[in-house]
Each structure stands twice: as C-alpha cells, then as structure tokens.
C-alpha cells in the first residue's frame, strides 16, 4: 500500500543545482544556490523564509519568468526554458499577492480567463470549458459570487476567485506568492484549506510562499525553508522543527522560536514563579495569560511565590490566588487575577 502511494506521486517540477538571483551588467547578486528540489503531485509545499529571503525570486525562476543564474529547472522532465509560453501556461498556474482589479468583469469572467491557454484565438468557451469554469468556482466555494462584479468583492473573496482561475487553468502545478498576505486569519485558513484539499485530491502539486511560519508548520505537507546562509532545506514541518532548522531561520536577537509550541513565546521580563493547578483548556489559557504578564508558570514548585488554582463550575470559572496555602483572593476573570498578581509582585517591588 505504502509503496503504491509513493510511486503514484509523480515529479512535476524539479531543480538541478539551481542558483537563483539577479544579474546586472556588472554584478551578480545570488539569492540562493545549489538548490535540488522537487514538486510532486498530492503535496502542499510551503516555501518559508523571512521577508527578503528570496521566496519570490525562486517562484519566478520556477515559473520560467526569470532565468536561473546557473543550473536547471525541469518541467515534466525537460528544461523549462525550452517550453513555449503556452505550454508552461498549461502546466503552471500562478496566484500573486497583488490585489487584482478588473473594471467591468464579473467573477465568472475572471475565472473564465483561466481557460486562456486552452481556447482558440477568439477566446470563446466551449461547453466543456464552461463546465470547468463552473467546477473551479465550486471548488473554492465561490459559485454564489459567480454573477457579481469582481471589483465589488472583499479581498478574501477576490483571492479565492483568483485561485479558482488558476484551477480553471487546469495546471498540474499551482505556484502561489503570499496569497494570504493581506487577509485576516480566518480567510488565511480558509484559503489554505482550499489549497490543502486541492493538493490531497492527488493530481496537483502546490507550492505556496508564505512568511507566516506558524501557518506553514500547521498546514504544510512539506516545507522548503530558506536558511540565512542562502540555501534551502526541505522536510516535513516536524522534522525541520526537531532538527532546529526553523529555530535558526526564524530567530532574531530579541525573539526566539519555541520548538515545543511552534510559536514565538512572549518575552519574559521577570523570574517570578507562579504555580498553576487545574484541569482542561482553562489551564492552557490561564498559563498564556500569566506568561504574557511576565510570570513563569510551573505546575508545582517549592520556589513558586504564589499558587493559582482554577476550578470550573456550571460553565463558569473561578481563579483562587493563594500564598502558603492561604487564599488571598478569588477572581472570575483571568484579567483580574493577573492584575492581582501584578499588584502583589511587580508593582510593589
């Protein structure tokens, strides 16, 4: 079974000793070098790296828009430079960050543009084309928007429509350059889920540049990670976290990436330990609240300056603050509890 699956994963796009960057008349600025990467069917790959790491340069090179400094990009086994523009357009679809504007175009008109490489010079859609456009709208859940003017949509809806257009283009590969950069968290996750579904349907390989590493860790099948030294290492999110690669790439002088939570913990200002007791999700959120106010949270520690016990009763919570087994105060919100602790330990000292 397992072998069946891996042999069914076809290599769509491949790089061989690829060096990417920009070439001027006098200067060559290398962004990354020695890249050996593969895009296979059925995978959502997130291309991660800090702003300016070279994500867009790599995407442009993979799409054949920009020439590599050296090395090769192979599309379906042959060099991408040898493909005609139409042949590339039939294999690689593109979605960008930029907010597209299209005065007078309906949502369906925009998605229909995806059929561009498949239609004749007049651009008239056959019934089969029509069906594919409808289907693409359906996949992203934009069929109710079909007749609306594109310019009247919200940013999130527009981006869904642009993805539907890429789906209608019927390419094996979809490259996306920060498609969620301008969207709120909920829209980001909606878009990523659409892409996940699309990848897991098994016929497409999807490569998305994203600077939000926590989203990449959560949703990617595989991450291509730009390293500060100018290379890319790849692996599953878990492997990259465990090897410390993510921590290296995403830490700065002031912030360190926490490999356990997969997040950036709040910078701790003091060393006051608070013991926290209780069960369930309320403990997790209480700990977060305490950590943000600068306390070190532990479960049981003799050196803890105070203990917080949280209990749940009839759907409401109660936080009790005690020092040396003597209850000093009780609170119904995390906020008033942390205020009390701040009053006791921080403001007074």
């Amino acid at each position: 079974m397992l072998e069946d699956r891996s042999s069914a994963m076809k290599v769509l796009l491949e790089t061989r000793d690829l060096d990417i960057g920009y070439r001027n008349r006098k200067k060559i600025s290398r962004v990354a070098s020695g890249l050996r990467l593969q895009v296979k069917t059925g995978e959502l790959i997130c291309l991660a790296g800090q702003n300016g790491a070279g994500k867009s340069t790599l995407l442009r090179t993979l799409a054949g828009v920009q020439k590599p400094l050296s090395g090769k990009v192979l599309l379906d086994g042959s060099e991408i430079i040898s493909h005609s523009q139409t042949s590339i357009a039939k294999k690689i679809g593109l979605v960008l960050t930029e907010k597209a504007e299209a005065e007078g175009f309906s949502v369906r008109d925009i998605v229909a543009l995806g059929r561009f490489p498949h239609t004749d010079w007049k651009g008239i859609l056959t019934p089969a084309d029509q069906y594919k456009v409808d289907n693409a709208l359906n996949i992203v859940g934009a069929d109710p928007l079909s007749g609306r003017l594109f310019t009247h949509l919200s940013d999130g809806e527009k981006q869904k429509v642009m993805i539907a257009r890429a789906i209608a283009q019927e390419t094996d590969i979809i490259l996306l350059d920060e498609p969620t950069a301008f969207l709120d968290l909920l829209r980001k996750i909606e878009i990523i889920n659409i892409l996940r579904d699309l990848a897991s349907s098994g016929t497409k390989g999807i490569l998305m540049a994203i600077h939000d590493i926590s989203l990449a860790l959560q949703y990617a099948d595989r991450i291509w990670l730009f390293e500060p030294e100018g290379g890319i290492i790849e692996g599953s999110p878990e492997d990259l976290v465990l090897s410390g690669a993510i921590e290296r790439a995403f830490s700065s002088e002031k912030l360190t990436f926490d490999p356990v939570s997969g997040q950036y913990p709040v910078y701790t200002r003091n060393n006051i330990k608070i013991a926290l007791k209780g069960t369930g999700r309320v403990v997790y959120w209480t700990a977060k609240g305490l950590a943000r106010q600068g306390f070190k949270v532990c479960s049981d520690d003799p050196s803890a300056r105070a203990t917080v016990i949280v209990t749940e009763k009839d759907g409401s919570f109660l936080w009790e603050v005690s020092v040396e087994d003597e209850i000093l105060s009780s609170h119904t919100t995390v906020l008033s509890m942390t205020d009390q602790l701040k009053e006791m330990f921080i403001h007074r000292s």
């Binding site: 597209a100 859609l125 007749g147």
Partner: protein, 352 residues
C-alpha cells in the same frame, strides 16, 4: 440558464449594438444637416439615396463637404477611442489615452517645424480649402513626427520590462517634445504662430474626400488588427504577471498594442490636428453603457461610441443656429473633461 451567464454571445451582441448603431446613424444624419447653411433632413436623405435636393447647391455641399466631414468625425472618434482603450488596458490606468506616449507631441513638432521653422507659407493656406498640397505637406510632417516618437518609444519598450516605467517615460518624452515646440513658437513670426495655433485647434472639416482615401484604409486596417487581440487584452486586465502566466507573450503584445494605438492616434492627428479627451473619455463611457470589461464587446463599443461623441462634438463646434465655428479641441475638452471627472468620482464610490 447557463448560456444566460456567458458574457459573450451573439444574440446579446446584437441586442447591445443595435441601439448603439441606431444612435450613431441618427447623429451622423444630424451632423449632415449642420454647417454654414442648414439643410433639412429630407434633402439629405434624398441626396444620399441618389436623388436631388430642393436647392441645386445643396447636393454638392452634402457630397463634397458634409459627407467627408461626417466620415472624418466618425473615423477619428472611433480610432481615438480604440487607441485610448488599448492604452488604458495596457497601462492599467484609467487616465491613459491615445496621446499618453507623446504621439501628439511628435505630430505637433512635425507640423511646427513645417509651419514655423521652414516658413514656406503653407500655414496661410491651411484652412482656405484650396491648399490640398499644403495639407498633405502638414499630414506628412505630422505623420513623420508621430512615427519618430513611436519609434523611440518602441525602442525603449523593447528593453524596459515594466509598463509603468514605459508610461512615465512616454509622458516625460511628450513634455520634452512640447518644450521644443514652445521654443520654436517663441522664435517665430506672429502670423505663423497663428496658423500653428489654428492647426492645434483641430478640425474635421479640413479633411477632403481625397485625404479620406488615405485615412480610411489605414484606420480600418488598424481596427481590424486590434480585433484578434481581444483575448490578450482581457488577460492583460489582470496585469502583466498574471497575463504572462496564462500564456500571453507580454512583450510582443505590448509592441503590437503600442504600434496599433499609435498609428490610429497618429493618423487622426496628422489629418485633423490634435483632438483631445475623446480617447480618454470614450472608453469609460463605453464600459458604462455596455456594462462590460470584455474587449470583444468594448472595441466595437468604443468604435460606435467614439463615432457618436466625435459627431456630437462636430455638431456642437458648428454652433447650431449660427455660422460661427468653435475650435474642435475646445469642444471635445468641454465634453470630455466632465466625463473623466465623473468617472473618477465613480471609481471612488466603487472603491468604498
């Protein structure tokens, strides 16, 4: 149901364009009745259908003067509008127009050189009817001027990847060429400056039937060349990167679009002088009237709407009820500027 949602369809096509075409015909006939003498519509129709008018002189006025003028107006309006549409789509800028790359500045430089610098006295006979050779001289000068600008723009466009940079370069180039024209004006005799200014007012009446024999085929050819580009133009609406990812060879299409738009605008300018605002305003009008962004609808729409607006401007410049003639360029600006302002206000509404 499904067909109803498809934006391109023959029946719908007919439904949209039948009223627009009727409006065009009405304005065209109305334009024929206007001029230094008013000629009733029934005499116009009689002459056009091969009969004779109630006054003998009217027949020759209609055939020799009015008909060429109305044809010129329709052609000029259509080509300026299409040229403006192509530039607006290529540069994704609602304020782009046929002259945005300095085509008209090139034409005026050519004309200025002939009238002001060469000083052959051509200017004096410009509007006197008898100066056909003189007109051809001006036409040639304007054509060479705009072709020169076009050549330089194309040369640059081959090397520059960003459309925005080309746009800015074109505008700057236009300013530079206009500055040279100003220098020429500064050092010229007053009466020659007067004839240059007369040219710069623009007119549809200066184009004779003979001139039309050149103007008509050139414009028709360019309009036909623009039609197969509709598909590419639609993709370009999303911007160069998207268009190129869908298979548009942006560089080739750009060169082609600039050439077609420039020849359209350059031809009109060479024969009629600079005619402002039609090229900027009509594409917006067409988008609004036709409620579409599809170039397969917009190009024919711009041809008809451009014709209608130019004919209306011609009627207005001949001041119905008097024998005064206003400068055409002022009339088109007075019609065009409010349209452009209205469009910009509307964009702001849509943006909210």
């Amino acid at each position: 149901m499904r067909q109803g949602r498809e934006s391109f369809q023959f029946k719908k096509y007919l439904l949209i364009f039948a009223p627009l075409f009727t409006a065009f015909l009405i304005v065209f006939l109305f334009d024929l009745t206007h001029g230094s003498v008013q000629i009733p519509l029934k005499d116009i129709i009689a002459v056009l259908t091969g009969g004779s008018a109630s006054k003998a002189s009217w027949g020759s006025i209609i055939l020799a003067l009015r008909l060429p003028r109305a044809f010129t107006a329709s052609l000029a309006g259509a080509s300026l509008a299409v040229s403006g549409l192509l530039m607006q789509t290529l540069f994704r800028n609602p304020l782009a127009g046929p002259f945005v790359l300095g085509i008209n500045s090139g034409a005026s430089l050519g004309v200025a050189l002939v009238i002001l610098a060469a000083g052959t006295g051509i200017g004096g006979s410009l509007f006197s009817g008898g100066g056909i050779f003189a007109e051809i001289g001006l036409v040639a000068a304007a054509s060479i001027g705009s072709a020169l600008v076009l050549g330089i723009v194309l040369l640059a466009a081959r090397r520059i990847s960003s459309n925005t940079v080309i746009l800015i370069m074109g505008i700057m180039f236009g300013y530079a060429v206009s500055a040279v024209v100003s220098v020429l004006i500064h050092f010229s005799f007053a009466e020659r400056v007067q004839s240059f200014i007369a040219w710069s007012f623009g007119s549809f009446a200066v184009v004779s039937a003979k001139d039309l024999g050149v103007m008509f085929p050139v414009i028709l050819l360019c309009l036909f060349l623009a039609l197969p580009l509709c598909k590419q133009l639609n993709a370009l609406v999303l911007g160069e990167t998207y268009a190129s990812s869908m298979g548009v060879s942006v560089l080739k299409v750009r060169m082609f679009l600039i050439s077609v738009a420039a020849v359209l605008a350059g031809t009109v300018t060479a024969f009629c002088g600079p005619v402002a605002f039609i090229g900027i305003a009509v594409p917006h009008l067409a988008r609004n009237i036709l409620r579409s962004g599809d170039h397969r609808i917009l190009i024919p729409g711009c041809i008809l709407t451009g014709g209608i607006i130019a004919l209306a401007a011609d009627i207005a410049s001949n001041l119905p009820g008097s024998d005064m003639v206003l400068p055409l360029n002022s009339v088109t600006s007075l019609i065009g500027a409010p349209i452009v302002i209205w469009v910009i206000m509307r964009y702001q509404h849509v943006g909210r």
